[in-house]
Amino acid sequence: MGIQALTAAELAKKVMNQEPLFILDVRNEDEFQDWKVEGKNVEIINKPYFELLDGIDEILDRIPSDKEVLIVCAKEGSSQFVADMLAEADGGDYLYLQGGMKTWSEHIESVKAADLTDGGELYQFVRIGKGCLSYAVLSNGEAAIVDPVRFTDAFASFLEEKQAVLKYAVDTHLHADHISGGRELAERFDASYLLPEADAGGVTFSYEPLEDGKTLTVGSTEIDIQALYSPGHTIGSTSLVVDNQYLLTGDILFVDSIGRPDLAGKAEDWVGDLRETLYSRYANLDRNLIVLPAHFSKKEELDDSGRVMAKLDDLYARNHGLNIEDKDTFRRTVTENLPPQPNSYATIRQTNMGQAAPTEEEKTEMEIGPNRCAVS
């Protein structure tokens, strides 16, 4: 009986294994509405901790006795405080989220997405709290990491575990929702950092341009990564075709939606590029390619193994964003009634260009909240 800490890693396992869990989120209502823990078998309610100071009787009735109960807050203190009150009141067991939503936002799980030619492997890194996806291509002791988030230690441990040498760190575009770990990772392992030139207008550091048609080779068995210019989310957005089987779409095409063109303030200019990429360039690719996006926004996009992936052909059949025939309707869909822009997107872009150098604490604050890179 009593209270116990649950780590972000343990919570991620529960969410990915679709275990039943009841969550009482004690942050204030705005924060809860903005962003919360989601999972297929997660039941979640919100009651701010400061409304429980006079007593917890009204919330006790709403807490089920047949499943685990987790209390969540922004950083940890309030969840521990409420869990203590609950345990004292009914003698039950209560979990609280260690490090709160701050830590949840930063947690990364790696899952194997595929086996590649000649023993190569493709891994997907799921930043489950924020909906960011990064990738590692491994072959014969060499690695390329695509769209890495800023927690480079996670990739460093992965490279060490796999005994692989990082050859390339690649960003498919200049990110606006999260701070890239690409440049730092490349510097740390003396690898090349690649970024599309058209997105790099304001960058203050050197990089290798990720150009259309460029081939990156990982490992001696030549698993190649083919760059494919696919503008629309940003003017430089470039997709990668890995081992002729996997299409890393960045923020252009997601499993359940399509990328939004407005995060650099140029929606009207870029909407035509987005249409061209989705309705012509991608449409003419091998439809057996497996799409691996840089984000997900709904828990339904995760498969039973906790991965986010889908066949290109299936997306042409069921993704609404790929099935808007009329050009004007498409233009309106991707430029009007968009969800709010990601928190701090302007400063995040500046940071990714090297124009701003926030502290670790500021980075955490900037990245709080959902990614919101999709149209809906």
């Binding site: 901790y49 400061f50 409304e51 100071l53 950083k75 203190g77 309030s78 405080f81 604050e365």
Partner: protein, 75 residues
């Protein structure tokens, strides 16, 4: 701005700034002003949200040298 009581909650982490604020305001009379100083960033949104849900009035909110300041009028 004038206040009847100043609560120094600097250096305290969530939930303590709100817990202490509630205790202080319970001891004040209706119409009195409680001034709160806090450094926990969460206070910036939690103090106003608590004020609203408890029926008090947030008269003013300020930030000075990383110290968050609030003036709350008891209902």
């Amino acid at each position: 701005m004038e206040s009847n009581k100043v609560l120094n909650a600097e250096g305290l982490a969530c939930p303590m700034p709100v817990v202490k604020a509630k205790k202080e305001i319970d001891n004040l009379n209706a119409g009195d002003i409680l001034e709160i100083h806090a450094t926990d960033k969460g206070a910036a949104s939690d103090i106003p949200a608590w004020t609203k849900s408890s029926g008090h009035e947030l008269v003013q909110q300020d930030e000075e040298n990383d110290i968050l300041k609030f003036w709350i009028k008891k209902a």
